[in-house]
Amino acid sequence: MTVPFEAPPLSLTSPLQAEKLCVSYGRRPVLSELDIAFPREQVTAIVGPNGCGKSTLLSALARLHTPQAGRITLERRDIRSYGARELARALALLPQNVTAPEGLTAAELIRFGRQPHQSWLRQWSAEDAAVVDAALAAADLQALAHRPLEAMSGGQRQRAWIAMAIAQQTPVLLLDEPTTALDLGHAIEVFELVRDLAAEGKTVVMVLHDLGNACRYADHLVAMRDGRVVAAGPPSEIVSRELVRELYGVDCTLVTDTDTGAPLLANVRRARDIAAPGSSIS
Amino acid sequence: MNGRPRIAAGAPQRRVRLWFALLCAATLLVCVASLLFGAGAIGPLDSLDTLIRALSGHTSDDNAWFTIESLRAPRTAIGVLVGAALAVAGALLQAVTRNPLAEPGLLGVSGGATFAVAIAIALGADAASLRVPVAQFGALAGCVAVLAASRVRGAGDDPVRLVLAGAVLSGLLYALTSLILLFDERTADEIRFWVVGSFAGRRPDDVIALLPGLAVAAVVVVGIARPLAALALGEHVASGLGHRPRLVRLLVVLAVALLVGSATAIAGPIAFIGLVAPFVARGLAGPDVRTTLWLCLPIGAVLTLGADVVSRLVVRPSELPLGVLTALIGAPVLVAVVRSRRLPTL
């Protein structure tokens, strides 16, 4: 349990942090005393086995769950002090398994992203038009702007949803498993879009199922188990055989991708020499 | 449930037999109550006296005996038959659609029977003689519609969606029946009281008219109980075990149509018995359809006849439509079934 990790000097620069965060569903604690900070203008991936609390953490960060204890700060302000629309202008969330009304086109979907900036008497402005166009361009969807979402491929549809979040013009973007149910090609479309967004100055936090993609596309990796952070830092520094075994109970051989320098998992197999995942590793 | 259906029952056989015996005793008790209480100037004590004298061989042709023999006895028989028939029909329909909410009244099978009878009477058919086969035909049509709906991809696998569709279908059929009543006063007079569900004023002949249909249904049910239990494991498993799912479904439809058609023809549409009885039976004996079917017989009879006895007593001297009481019992059970976690797994 004691993989050592140095507390990264993030606390001063991070736009979004959680301190001593506790969240539970009914009586079952999901997150316990969790401290975490996310580096500014970088891509952070949260990984961990099923049920480790990673999606719950993301929802709590977006204020969809009320923590039982601890606090979350966004730009040094407690998120509870934000108004609903104010928060939506500072932080965008794309949950898992989103659905839209039938027949909605990509451009129409993206326009909903402008709602936090609009009001009943200010329903559409030149800025709205410009931002929607820019979001379409960022997601490379101009040619498909007026196509209904159902008529798009999975990757295009997911890009349209991310474009909606982009149109919110928030400095922080949270994505919950943005590539589940996408095949390899479509997943890469989404990951490259995410990289571009970070390069343009957004802080992106995404929950990922797949450790390999997390290593490849994240600047910063957060590994979670049983509602706690096990390790955090750049993938090349923190990913080790021991970490993989502690997280998933599997053995693997780690190699380094010669093109990107990211760690690669090879020869993944069930760990036979340990009793159960999570028992002590020395 | 495990692979061998023979030992698949959820509860030990002995306990099931005990329950069956207890329920049969309860049925007898309710029958006696049904003979003792009711409209007419004969009080319960007089009735009891008459009944005991009759059992000891002293038949008399006084007023009390007339009331019991020609008014209450057919009514009691109808209550038992209709209750058992509806309960078994509900259990069959639930097994074949694999949906614990499938109920002949909710799904429009009774509505089909009612509508068919209304049409037949409006077209000038003599009510009494034709009612049973016509109602059975209508129930058959309703049954086929339900089964077709349950096999629509995406909609049929969702137990609740099927019930919604059934509720809409029955709403439609009752609206159409009301339309016929609106246009045809003779029909309206003939079936106005029948349409709300009641056992009042039935004659012994009416009971006899039911027997052929019910007998055929009973034979069919006995024949298909085993393959039906296998069908609960899924169509492919049932085929693998050497059964023929299509044939089983066809026979179930036939049996349900005969049972519901007969029950509706004599008592009018009575909802919820087919839901409540199998629900209770499964609670007592587990999910195996063969034990459920046996237990449904006395449970349905007790529920229906019990509701009928109560309906005679609460608003004396007039009577409450039976459907009101069954709905008051059945609606909470419906909610309970929906709330239970096991909903999609039947």
Binding site: S125 | V163, S178
Partner: protein, 360 residues
């Protein structure tokens, strides 16, 4: 992106919309109107107008449109004035208002539950309102007027159905079937009360149970008119947020919508409108399903067609009532029967189309 607004570029309305600037261009105040929704609403309004005129003209005595409209204002032939003012006007008004209220309530509830089948009638609200209103007519109701009792009944039925199902949306269709159960129980209670009451009292209460626009009371009509105005204002205020509530809850909250508040607001409006409409027309629940369905087909998917649903509901109710009066004259078919016969196939079609989701 602040530079975008400093460009001298005109504010382009997005495809399919008109932008109405309010005040100077600098203030940026504007309304955005959906072209297709506007056209749909105009069409529906025109159809409603035609149906209203037809409803005033046709019946056991037919009069010309010109005479009917003149008669409405007290001019023209004495008989025409009597027929129009005394017999047909109140009935028409009741049809327009109750149809609009039913459909608006249906559209609100479908949207807040994110399910096209979730209409007040299906979850037993109509029956709850009817049971309490009948109790009031029969004198069980503590002296409260039927419309007010209908409000109480609708609220009780809603609370029970939602309480039993443990919330909306999350439980899929469960709360719909819980609602069917609640509706069946309330229906049984209504029939129980009718069976126990004296024959003349039962006759007075009977129109409540079938759904008919015959013999509408002035109090109920006034309350409905006020309720519909409040409902439309409330719906307009909620409309933009409701457009987002159609998405999943996380998305809506991420866009800065207080989903729970919006849902509660829409629910309160929906319950109130349904109860007041039931107090006028009886349980004609399927209007709440077909009205929004029609509006959704005519209008665009960009917004929630609240206005369109209201107009469509009014139109359907007036047409159904007219058909019930005229088709088989002198026999009058209650509007509740007509709406069931027409609405049920629509509902079955929604339910049983293979492979279709039932969103909003």
């Amino acid at each position: 992106m602040t530079t975008a607004s400093e460009h001298a570029r005109p504010a382009l309305a997005p495809a399919g919309s008109w932008r109405l600037p309010l005040g100077s261009a600098r203030s940026g105040r504007s309304l955005l109107l959906d072209k297709r929704a506007c056209v749909a609403n105009l069409l529906l309004a025109a159809a409603l107008w035609a149906a209203c005129v037809a409803s005033l003209c046709l019946g056991e005595v037919s009069i010309t449109p010109r005479a009917a409209i003149a008669g409405l204002f007290g001019y023209g032939d004495f008989m025409d004035v009597f027929v129009v003012q005394e017999l047909r006007w109140t009935r028409l008004l009741a049809g327009v208002l109750s149809g609009g209220a039913f459909a608006l309530a249906g559209c609100l509830m479908q949207t807040l539950a994110r399910n096209r089948l979730a209409t007040p009638g299906i979850i037993g609200l109509d029956n709850g309102a009817t049971a309490f209103a009948v109790a009031s007519v029969l004198g069980v109701g503590l002296g409260i007027a039927p419309p007010a009792m209908a409000l109480v009944g609708a609220s009780v039925a809603t609370a029970i159905a939602f309480g039993l199902a443990g919330g909306i949306g999350t439980q899929g269709y469960r709360f719909l079937v819980a609602g069917i159960g609640v509706g069946a129980a309330f229906d049984a209670i209504t029939r129980l009360m009718l069976a126990r009451s004296a024959i003349d009292a039962a006759n007075a209460a009977y129109p409540w149970t079938v759904g008919s626009l015959n013999g509408v009371g002035a109090l109920a009509l006034n309350m409905l008119a006020i309720g519909l105005v409040i409902g439309l204002i409330g719906a307009a205020a909620l409309a933009r947020a409701l457009g987002v509530v159609r998405f999943s809850e996380g998305v809506a909250q991420g866009l800065g919508i207080r989903v729970a508040h919006i849902r509660l607001g829409a629910l309160v409006l929906s319950v109130g409108l349904t109860a007041l409409a039931v107090a006028v027309a009886g349980p004609v629940g399927l209007i709440a399903l077909i009205g929004p369905e029609l509006a959704r087909h005519l209008s665009s998917r960009r917004g929630v067609p609240l206005m369109g649903a209201t107009l469509a509901g009014a139109l359907l109710m007036v047409v159904a009532d007219l058909a019930g009066r005229v088709l088989f004259s002198p026999i009058e078919i209650p509007v509740g029967l007509i709406s069931t016969v027409v609405g049920a196939p629509v509902l079955l079609w929604i339910l049983l189309r293979p492979g279709h989701k039932i969103g909003v």
